[in-house]
């Protein structure tokens, strides 16, 4: 047994050390820096002050944009993803289901940079606007607007929303739907009273994943918002790579992580409640 313990330890040490050195220690550094002061040439001077946190209001626009567009983007993803997940789980033929599912996931694993670039192309002056112009809709400005950012968000994160909802719907006991219709429920009522509540854990998981990733988004607003739609991520890039105000940047990063942790905590409470609800159903 001793030998086996030693072997287990040896197998765990490289990964464990990597996690500690590249994840935990750097995160601690960010936390410590958030209480420091800015050096004359940028960088960090050790100190203990709450000034950086008191100054967070200076980047209020970035927080505001993120806190408006991240939930909005999550909601848009949800509304578009749900019918697709429903179709894949309950309506698509088994023969095509796997392929269709793969086709949803594949874009998520390809470069988000290139996929956002595609929308610069489509929404730019010579893309959709010129098409609309030719059809007599005037020449609307699409690129570098919150709308463009929203499209980019939906485009980038839709797959992440579809998948958990699909899983929840796929696991759903189809006999419940049969029972509901046998007992005289019209389809829409079966959906509202059986399908929708039972798919809520998937909705919650998908929403949380998308929301959390959106909170840290930089690329989509940078490319499709043209510097006018500024997220927390854009503020962070500015603070660390341009103005080199590390302590303030660290404070912004800490604030971002705190908002995310609150979201995860809310999610965990929510799903626990729904898990409780599901137990009641299975008891029936």
């Amino acid at each position: 047994m001793q030998r086996q313990d030693l072997r287990t330890w040896l197998l765990l040490v490289p990964a464990g050390a990597w996690f500690l050195c590249m994840l935990i220690l750097p995160l601690i550094v960010v936390f410590v820096f958030a209480f420091g002061e800015r050096g004359a040439a940028g960088g960090y001077v050790p100190a203990f002050t709450f000034e950086n946190f008191a100054n967070l209001g200076a980047r209020w626009t970035a927080f505001k944009n993120t806190l408006i567009l991240a939930p909005l983007g999550t909601l848009a993803c949800l509304l578009i993803a749900y019918p697709l997940a429903y179709f894949l789980a309950l309506r698509a033929s088994a023969r095509w289901r796997t392929l269709l599912l793969i086709l949803v996931i594949v874009p998520f694993w390809t470069s988000i940079l290139i996929r956002s670039y595609a929308w610069i192309y489509l929404l730019g002056g010579q893309g959709i606007p010129s098409l609309l112009n030719a059809l007599g809709f005037g020449n609307p400005r699409l690129i570098n607007t919150p709308f463009a950012v929203l499209i980019g968000i939906v485009y980038g994160y839709l797959p992440l929303m579809v998948f958990p909802i699909y899983v929840a719907l796929e696991r759903l006991d189809k006999r419940l739907l049969e029972a509901s219709s046998d007992l005289g429920s019209p389809p829409w009522r079966s959906f509202l009273q059986v399908t929708l509540p039972l798919s809520m854990p998937g909705v919650a998981t998908g929403s949380m994943l998308v929301f959390i990733l959106l909170m840290g988004e930089f690329l989509i607003p940078a490319m499709l918002g043209g510097g006018k739609v500024f997220f927390i991520g854009n503020a962070l890039v500015d603070l660390f790579l341009q103005s080199r105000n590390w302590p303030f940047g660290a404070a912004v990063a800490v604030a971002l992580v705190v908002v995310m942790l609150v979201t995860v905590a809310a999610y965990l409470r929510f799903t626990r409640r729904w898990a409780g609800g599901r137990d009641d159903v299975s008891l029936m």
Partner: protein, 271 residues
């Protein structure tokens, strides 16, 4: 319902298709297609900045994926027999590595390493025995591989573990009962069963690193990866050359993803 699904698939694939289509455009302008040509591919591939960035991306993706697969697989195997506090701690680490956004990982790695290097470099210079001066530690390949390897390792551990969960434990016990050494059991029983998971983990890790922009943006130092290069070129203006590079990048990820998926599917059928 079917029409709706079809529309969503169009929404997902038309932009990618447009990029690919216009990468073969003979003309310069985005508005009209002026005939088929591969000139932009030629131009991209003879651009030394593109070739350098591609080599950097390839080196980083390969190294980080190999290291992550190796250490991730060993960790996943060891975790099978670990319980209690250590198990909880490790699960928490994996969870944090996956959930903390890339931008925070990038920032944290940047300031931690720069601070460490600022502190180490004078020490190194003072104790360096040779006359030609001490090497200066700085951000570059090392930091890129280390930062990408972190996420990739979490990914490999998750995938390999999922594969192990579906594995038949009785085979391992049977092998041990029949007198095989632990190494023999691993090589002849465990490894063939989890190999699809390992390979898929490797391919996904490679894809992640090859496509990553945000972490590389912070920790690349003097190096330029392909996504970082593409990002800075887009800021200078949209050209068909970027379409050609983008199409190649998409093609690489698509190829790897399809391979990973095929391996996982076949493994599932066999297992």
């Amino acid at each position: 319902m079917r029409i709706y699904a079809f529309a969503v698939y169009l929404f997902l694939y038309i932009p990618i298709g447009v990029i690919a289509l216009f990468s073969f455009n003979a003309g310069r302008h985005a508005s009209q297609f002026q005939g088929f040509s591969v000139q932009w591919y030629g131009k991209a591939l003879s651009n030394p900045f593109v070739v350098d960035a591609f080599k950097t991306s390839l080196t980083v993706a390969l190294s980080s994926a190999v290291l992550a697969t190796l250490f991730g697989t060993t960790a996943a195997m060891a975790l099978q027999s670990v319980k209690g506090r250590l198990r909880i701690a490790f699960d928490a680490l994996i969870y944090i590595a996956v959930m903390v956004p890339g931008i925070v990982i990038g920032i944290a790695t940047l300031i931690a390493l720069v601070t460490l290097f600022d502190w180490l470099n004078p020490v190194l210079a003072a104790v360096w025995p040779l006359a030609d001066g001490a090497p200066k530690l700085s951000l570059g390949y090392g930091s890129l591989i280390a930062a990408h390897g972190l996420f990739s390792m979490a990914l490999v551990i998750i995938i390999v573990r999922a594969r192990m969960a579906g594995m038949d434990r009785s085979l391992v016990e049977a092998s041990a009962d029949l007198g095989a050494t632990p190494w023999g059991t691993f090589r002849q029983v465990t490894l063939p069963q989890i190999f699809p998971g390992i390979l898929a983990g490797f391919l996904l890790a490679f894809t992640f690193s090859f496509d990553d922009f945000i972490i590389a943006f912070f920790v690349a130092g003097s190096q330029t990866t392909l996504p970082v290069y593409v990002f800075s070129s887009i800021r200078r203006g949209v050209t068909p050359e970027i379409n050609a590079i983008g199409t190649m990048v998409l093609a690489v990820s698509l190829l790897l993803l399809v391979t990973a998926q095929a391996i996982l599917q076949r493994g599932r059928q066999a297992g």
